[in-house]
């Protein structure tokens, strides 16, 4: 539960659009549709999906663990298997030697080398568990505001993609331009001024 840790980093988003009613149903469906899948004992090396905030390792979306006051809280989980390069190298060398002996040849083609490497990676991936990374999402639906508890670029990109896929809503990252553009107090003419701004040189 990243939200309850002592040091937190936040990337803020504006949520564009509205969910189909009933809203709770749309949220449950969106989350369940892209629930994190278990890839242990499988050749897949990476998976991204939603998980529950309170129980991220055994995801189960219950109303009491998803809705907190006016906030919807869940987590993005990215599971990844990392194989040591030296391990891949070792098994590729073993398999290459085996194939050369069987075929009586001295060299393998580029295609054969690639096939061996892919097979080795798939086999090794089946033998190691994926490491989970969990990032909490706090969505204030009425305010169209979303906090993502990570500043990591790759995690933010995964969030943007999965959110659109799950809820059919785009989320716009708030950075200096968008943070100003979406200010409620900025008129259309002020937005034009904003777009035409240029840097000021403070030093001489």
């Amino acid at each position: 539960m990243g939200l309850l840790t002592s040091s937190i980093s936040i990337t803020r988003y504006k949520v564009n659009g509205e969910l189909q009613t009933p809203i709770k149903e749309s949220i449950y469906n969106g989350l369940r549709k892209n629930l994190i899948q278990d890839i242990d004992k499988q050749p897949i090396d990476r998976v991204v999906g939603w998980t529950s905030f309170e129980n991220p390792y055994i995801p189960d979306f219950q109303e009491e663990s998803l809705f907190f006051g006016s906030h919807i809280i869940f987590s993005l989980r990215i599971d990844k298997k990392t194989l040591p390069t030296k391990l891949i190298k070792k098994f590729v060398a073993i398999e290459t030697a085996k194939l050369l002996k069987q075929s009586g040849r001295e060299f393998l083609s580029a295609n054969e080398k690639k096939t061996i490497k892919d097979e080795v990676i798939d086999r090794l991936n089946q033998g190691i568990p994926a490491t989970p990374n969990i990032y909490d999402v706090i969505w204030a639906y009425e305010e169209k505001s979303l906090w993502f508890l990570s500043n990591l670029k790759a995690a933010n990109e995964e969030l943007e993609t999965l959110f659109l896929k799950s809820f059919d809503l785009t989320i716009l990252r708030l950075f200096p331009y968008t943070g100003a553009y979406f200010m409620k107090t900025l008129s259309d003419s002020e937005k034009d001024l904003l777009t035409n701004l240029s840097p000021t040189q403070f030093s001489e």
């Binding site: 539960m1 939200l3 309850l4 002592s6 040091s7 937190i8 980093s9 936040i10 990337t11 803020r12 309170e54 009491e64 907190f68 006051g69 906030h71 809280i73 706090i138 906090w147 500043n151 716009l172 990252r173 708030l174 950075f175 200096p176 331009y177 968008t178 943070g179 100003a180 553009y181 200010m183 107090t185 900025l186 002020e190 001024l193 904003l194 777009t195 701004l197 240029s198 840097p199 000021t200 040189q201 403070f202 030093s203 001489e204």
Partner: protein
């Protein structure tokens, strides 16, 4: 609205200028430091300030850190054309304290340390702790929004060059 990726790069300078404006305001115009309800706030620069100088085709980073760091070197860097890229702030409200850093490029807030929430000993405690934590996190975020709005209003004002920018230039030069 313009393309998002292009906007991110083109308007990074707004974030850098905001942090420079914020530092100037913390030094010389503290009366402008009010929250969304116009209450005065107690905000100070924390233990870390990062500046970057991109003149002469090189990127030079100046990192000032430590307990109660002297900021003279930072001012000297500003004088040489650097801009503030990251600032750590401390917000004090009565006995409560928030520490957080703002990155100019993204306006992301990093390393937010809020006052402690109640302990979570049973499952029933989680909801209360979560709501309390969100409430505590809203404090620096809402403050950042209020201050950024003040900066943007000043930046788009026709008086920017003669008024705010001029005052910051004078402060840097002094």
């Amino acid at each position: 609205m313009i393309d998002m990726a292009a906007a991110y790069n083109r308007y990074k300078f707004l974030g850098y200028e905001f942090l420079t404006w914020l530092w100037y305001t913390l030094e010389l115009e503290t009366e402008k430091l009010t929250d969304a309800d116009h209450n005065e706030i107690d905000l100070k620069i924390g233990n870390r300030l990062v500046l970057e100088n991109r003149t002469h085709n090189n990127i030079e980073s100046i990192i000032i850190k430590g307990d109660d760091p002297g900021l003279e070197e930072g001012l000297l860097a500003l004088k040489k054309g650097a801009f503030v890229t990251e600032i750590e702030l401390v917000l004090q409200e009565g006995d409560f304290q928030w520490h957080f850093s703002i990155k100019g490029e993204s306006l992301n807030i990093n390393g937010i340390k809020t006052p402690a929430t109640g302990p979570v000993e049973r499952n029933d405690d989680i909801e209360g702790a979560v709501l309390e934590k969100i409430f505590l996190l809203e404090k620096p975020i809402s403050l950042l929004d209020t201050l950024y709005e003040k900066f943007i209003k000043a930046k788009i004002s026709p008086d920017w060059n003669q008024d705010t920018a001029h005052k910051i230039q004078k402060w840097i030069k002094a």
